[in-house]
Symmetry: C2
Subunit: 363 residues, 2 copies
């Protein structure tokens, strides 16, 4: 596929761009989108950039019935110098292919799709907002389109990339959120699809999220589906705790999504010589640390919110007020450094950033 | 919604119908489909029958990303007298609303949707095939259509019903199939979405199905996700075992789909004074029964295949050849009676059958 080029059909009109101070998350989309088809025996073919437009899909397309789909989420950032940057995009493409494998979707050529994404972002670069905390959210996704009502892997797919200028994901921003521990509903279980980024995991999470919101919480903390004892994730973020100077996070176990932000946080902490440990983390352990006064911080990590401090964690008769409900020092330092690197305000000692420029457009 | 009527837009052309002896499952669709929209604050509205046609949906529609969708499956049968019958359709509509509840999708008016389905089936009645074992498969499904990239319940939906003339679901028909016990992958877990008919459960099942097919098995037997000890379902069917004259089936536990065929089988067995017990069924128990010579039969139940006998059940070093690989007496009697009632060849002592006729069309 390396010699392939993306055919570009320019949009005849340009849509109005949103006011940068009124940006919501994921409601507005840019002028163009990328599409590529899969069918047998050709494989992936016909990569093209076209005006953003509705899809025309048969009602029997498998994606509507059997949930065979995967997606990714990453962002493009404007630097103070006017450059455009992506943050570790190869990680997202690798994860896309891991998700594909779990869902029996044929793998994509990671390098080629990354080039296509850069080309799309460069074409719609005027849509990247510039004010503090804003960015262009990039959503690649694959759907199964074979018109067939039967439980089996599809023989036809579409990979699509759409772009959305976004503000903060949580209205709380970097301010601490209230989290409820979920002990009835389960997001994912070992042997299921938890480590893949596929729709079913998110569909499964809606009910718990709805119930916790009714009680005034922002998100739920997910426990493992087997013993309901070990901590997995928070909302759709990975989760970290600082206990007695040490940072711990649930180890990857087959039901936790391997976040790009999680990986970056671990690397940053090591770089700073802060001990960081991936292990099973039980709710009991957390509670004990809280009672003995050593639970110093808790925060979620993810592309959308970057770092989201947890100010309160509640279950049954327990209400843990972590760091007195304030953003902790470690969370703050991680947020500042990560966003510093992402927005090109700080040095990038890890070579995490990838520039998008004219060269991305000529292929 | 009771006073509502379905607006009908007739198809200008009629498609060719498939040869009845070449019918596959779920590849061909009839001339019309039913659609109804949901938006707020109106609720479900604009019910209509239109020519079968592709859907036009925004690429940001939630259904492509977060798997918030549900579906149902039932059949219309031709009787020897030329009547058209549905089998316990109200059960499917009830289950649709239970699935909706789990997936945070607003409920539908069950009676109204059933009327709409009957009207659609009557309009496309020429598509109901007449030869042995064939029928018209009815697929209602709901997708979330709000153009929004964010994990939350959608505020817009479409309910769609499409129809497909079908032959046998498994090429084996009523002949016994070879089943592999799955001990790595998990279909569903208590607290998850297993008891809802939603795409994610089926997406999760594809990998195990693919691997078992490579080894020459037709389907997998799913174990519980917690202890990997108790039997849940077989492929996408419920499962029954006859041990020492008694029929047992896994009890509903939150991760098993409550099949309409399962419920009908239980009622029929009771009617025949054959003991039937819903309880936890462990793989060990099955193995012991086999070794002591009391495992008499095993079979799956579902709308698509009705009754599917299990001739071989394998895991690790174990290969159980059940009833010497033949279709058992109970399975055969259930198949004959159920299909007899469904196709109107036998009496219907339970009032399970619902007739579709001219009256279904005038509303
Ligand atoms: C379930 C889940 N966990 C964790 C994450 C965090 O992953 P990342 O840091 O790659 O955004 C996400 C978001 O992508 C997610 O959906
Ligand atoms: C997972 C699963 N289990 C069981 C069944 C059997 O249910 P029913 O008898 O209602 O067709 C189905 C099929 O509908 C199914 O998808």
């Amino acid at each position: 596929m390396e010699e392939w080029t993306v055919e570009v059909h320019h949009s005849k009109t340009k849509k109005d761009k949103p006011k940068t101070d009124q940006l919501e998350f994921g409601r507005i989309f840019t002028d163009h989108m990328f599409i590529m088809d899969y069918s047998e025996p050709v494989g992936w073919h016909d990569p093209r950039i076209v005006p953003y437009q509705p899809l025309t899909i048969d009602p029997s397309a498998m994606t509507f019935h059997y949930g065979q789909s995967v997606f990714e989420g990453l962002k493009a950032y404007h630097t103070p110098d006017g450059d455009i940057q992506l943050f570790r995009p190869e990680k997202n493409l690798q994860r896309l292919n891991r998700s594909n494998d779990r869902l029996c979707i044929p793998p994509v050529d990671e390098a080629f799709v990354l080039e296509a994404i850069k080309q799309l972002v460069f074409l719609d670069r005027e849509w990247i907002p510039t004010s503090e905390g804003t960015s262009l959210y990039i959503r690649p996704f694959i759907i199964s389109t074979e018109p067939f009502i039967g439980v089996a892997p599809s023989h036809q797919y579409k990979l699509i990339v759409i772009l959305s200028p976004v503000g903060a994901y949580y209205k709380e921003g970097i301010n601490p959120v209230k989290i409820a521990v979920e002990n009835q509903y389960v997001r994912a279980v070992k042997g299921g699809t938890g480590e893949a980024k596929t729709g079913g995991n998110y569909a499964a999470s809606l009910k718990a999220q709805e119930l916790c919101a009714q009680k005034g919480f922002t998100q739920v903390l997910w426990l493992d589906g087997v013993e309901k004892k070990y901590i997995e994730e928070v909302g759709s973020m990975n989760v970290f705790f600082k206990i007695n100077g040490e940072v711990i996070t649930p180890e990857l176990n087959g039901s936790i999504l391997e976040g790009v932000t999680r990986n970056s946080v671990i690397q940053l902490l090591k770089h700073w010589d802060i001990p960081v440990i991936e292990k099973k983390v039980s709710l009991d352990e957390l509670h004990e640390a809280y009672m003995s006064g050593t639970l110093e911080e808790a925060f979620g990590t993810g592309t959308a919110a970057v770092i989201s401090p947890i100010g309160q964690l509640s279950w049954e008769e327990h209400d843990l007020f972590i760091n007195e409900g304030n953003t902790g020092k470690t969370a703050k330092a991680l947020y500042d450094t990560l966003t510093g690197i992402q927005y090109g305000r700080e040095q990038d000692p890890f070579d995490w950033v990838e520039i998008v420029n004219e060269k991305s457009a000529v292929k």
